[in-house]
């Protein structure tokens, strides 16, 4: 039970690191890193809670994590494609420049 608690604390730490990374970083690629960290935090949470019922590890949680890694890869691919297009229009990766749409 203690191990579960420690892992959950790490999960929450990753969650806050991810949120900080998404909200504070100015480079768009780093923002995508933040999204990836958030996804990994959620995956880690699943893995932790799947192994809660000692002596066996529940496969259901692990199945979700494998699927979520694949889906996360797709989201990041779309995000990178969008960053390429942003770079073509704005000639920068600084997200503060993406402020032409207001109100």
């Amino acid at each position: 039970m203690l191990a579960t608690f420690v892992y959950l604390m790490f999960t929450f730490a990753l969650l806050f690191i991810g949120l900080y990374c998404v909200s504070a970083k100015r480079n768009m690629i780093r923002m995508l890193f933040g999204v990836e960290i958030l996804l990994n935090a959620a995956n880690l949470c699943f893995i932790t809670l799947a192994s809660r019922w000692i002596p066996y590890v529940d496969m259901l949680g692990q199945a979700v994590v494998i699927m979520s890694i694949i889906i996360g890869g797709c989201v990041i691919a779309v995000g990178l494609a969008m960053i390429i297009n942003v770079y073509k229009h704005y000639k920068t990766l600084d997200v503060r420049e993406l402020r032409r749409l207001r109100w």
């Binding site: 768009m28 935090a41 949470c45 889906i71 989201v75 995000g79 229009h89 704005y90 993406l98 749409l101």
Partner: protein, 504 residues
């Protein structure tokens, strides 16, 4: 096995890409026709499903069955949401044929439109969180690309990137909420979670899971503190996609939230700290600020599509009133408003798109006098906008009446007062827009022509339905009533169906 309607839509999405290749070689327009036919077939299948499901539940299992594998659980509510989605998608596809004719990469466009529809139908049919998440992301990824579809201009790309970041955070939050519920109960199936949650000592963790799921689905449904992506993404997408996004995608977020709230949390409210009142007060609070912020911001807009996007946020606020009421009557109003909003906002975006297509500008001051050159478009836009404002005789009046009445019944009269005031206030930005359409033109409009027939037909169908539901609401209310019963009074049927499927 998979529901055939989902297989049809996903196979159609793949096949449309090949028809697109054929079109490039030959110069024909087979992909438009093909994707419309696929959606029409899907609508027919959905009708068959509606007849066979009735007010019961159908379970589609994949592989070994519910406790260990994914399953689809179709009840009247799933059919209701799927019917709204597929119907709107069919009309938008027909409309796109002429609207998008000058764009390139159309094979991808129709393929993504079909896969987005498949994602939404999958979310509506999902019986466990694994299925829900996979189809949720299918819907999300398709919509990211569709928002940024016109990548040669800067605005859609910027809006698409903002949308992607916000929505990806939302998806992670949903995953987090799922993992907490899974950790407490050891299963991913909605019905099983609902059964076991009462037995575990959930404590504060149930509220943590609720908060994570509310943030996750709320980002998609554009509940106010999380709404900032919507006013960028919806106007910048091509108009048929705006209609789909505003009409059904944000409501799919609301649907996912309602499904989890009413199947998992509210039946177990007694064992959760704070009980039912926690959920009612939280959602009621967000309903109030969503309505107010949406309407006030819409008043400030100069861009017709951006105005409609903010009005969508306000409409989500009205729908949340029904969710907050936590009664069958409130949910009936909520689902009826989902149906009406998909027609009204869909029609408003399509009609605005027709005007933008002819004029090349979205500024409200620039559209002065267009109504004289485009009489049918102006007529349908008027019907849609009056419906959104809740004028008696249109569909919007019926659903808003049920929603506001339900808040009184649930002991939250403050929400009724706010709702009625907001509804009246919203006319302050709808009416000047309509006035601009009919005043004397300030510039030469002789180039402007009425939209082509294939764009007018879907718009006229929607306008006719809005009037029809407004005058003769009984069938639509009955349909919404069946949908709302499925998650309130007949919830035990939903849970027993899974238990029976597990036992074989």
């Amino acid at each position: 096995m998979f529901p055939t309607i989902l297989l049809t839509l996903m196979a159609g999405a793949v096949a449309t890409a090949f028809f697109g290749l054929l079109d490039e070689k030959v110069g024909s327009r087979s992909k438009e026709v093909f994707s419309s036919i696929i959606l029409a077939i899907a609508l027919y299948m959905l009708y068959n499903l509606y007849v066979s499901v009735g007010d019961g539940v159908m379970v589609f299992t994949i592989g070994v069955g519910p406790p260990l594998a994914a399953c689809f659980e179709v009840d009247a509510l799933s059919v209701f949401i799927a019917a709204c989605t597929v119907f709107l998608a069919l009309l938008c596809t027909v409309y796109s044929a002429r609207y998008m004719e000058h764009d390139t990469r159309l094979a991808e466009y129709y393929s993504l439109l079909l896969s987005m529809t498949a994602g939404m139908v999958g979310v509506a049919f999902a019986g466990d969180m694994f299925t829900l998440f996979v189809f949720w992301e299918l819907m999300c990824i398709s919509s990211y690309v569709l928002v940024a579809f016109r990548r040669e201009r800067w605005a859609p790309v910027e809006a698409g990137f903002k949308y992607l970041i916000m929505s990806a955070i939302g998806a992670t939050m949903i995953l987090f909420g799922m993992s907490f519920l899974y950790g407490m109960t050891g299963t991913l199936n909605f019905a099983q979670i609902s059964e076991t949650l009462a037995e575990v000592d959930a404590g504060v963790w149930a509220l943590v899971a609720f908060a994570a799921l509310f943030v996750g689905f709320g980002i998609k449904a554009a509940v106010v503190p999380m709404h900032t992506w919507l006013p960028d993404a919806h106007p910048e997408a091509p108009s048929p996609i705006s209609a789909m996004l505003s009409g059904m995608v944000i409501e799919t977020g609301l649907y996912g939230f309602i499904r989890l709230l009413y199947v998992v949390f509210i039946p177990n409210a007694a064992v959760i700290d704070g009980g039912l009142a926690t959920f009612k007060v939280t959602i009621g609070f967000f309903a109030a600020i969503t309505m107010i912020v949406g309407n006030v911001m819409a008043l400030l807009q100069k861009d017709i599509k951006r105005l409609l996007a903010y009005s969508s946020i306000a409409q989500i606020g009205y729908m949340l009133i029904g969710v907050a009421a936590a009664t069958e009557f409130g949910l009936r109003g909520c689902f009826l408003h989902v149906l009406n909003h998909s027609l009204m906002k869909g029609l408003a975006f399509l009609a605005a798109g027709a005007i933008v297509h002819q004029l090349g500008t979205r500024d409200i001051d620039e559209i002065k006098g267009v109504g004289k050159r485009m009489p049918i478009t102006m007529a349908v836009l008027t019907i849609a906008v009056l419906g959104l404002g809740g004028v008696p005789g249109t569909a919007g009046f019926i659903s808003k009446f049920i929603l506001f009445a339900s808040a009184v019944g649930a002991g939250m009269p403050i929400l009724t007062v706010l709702g009625v005031l907001n509804s009246a206030f919203s006319m302050a930005y709808y009416l000047p827009m309509l006035k601009n359409l009919v005043t004397t033109p300030t510039k030469d409009l002789s180039e402007v022509k009425e939209a082509p027939a294939s764009m007018l037909v879907p718009m006229c169908i929607m306008a006719a339905l809005i009037i029809l539901i407004g005058i003769y609401p009984a069938p639509a209310v009955q349909f919404a009533h069946m949908a709302s019963e499925a998650v309130t009074t007949k919830l035990s049927t939903y849970i027993e169906a899974i238990v029976r499927a597990i036992l074989g």
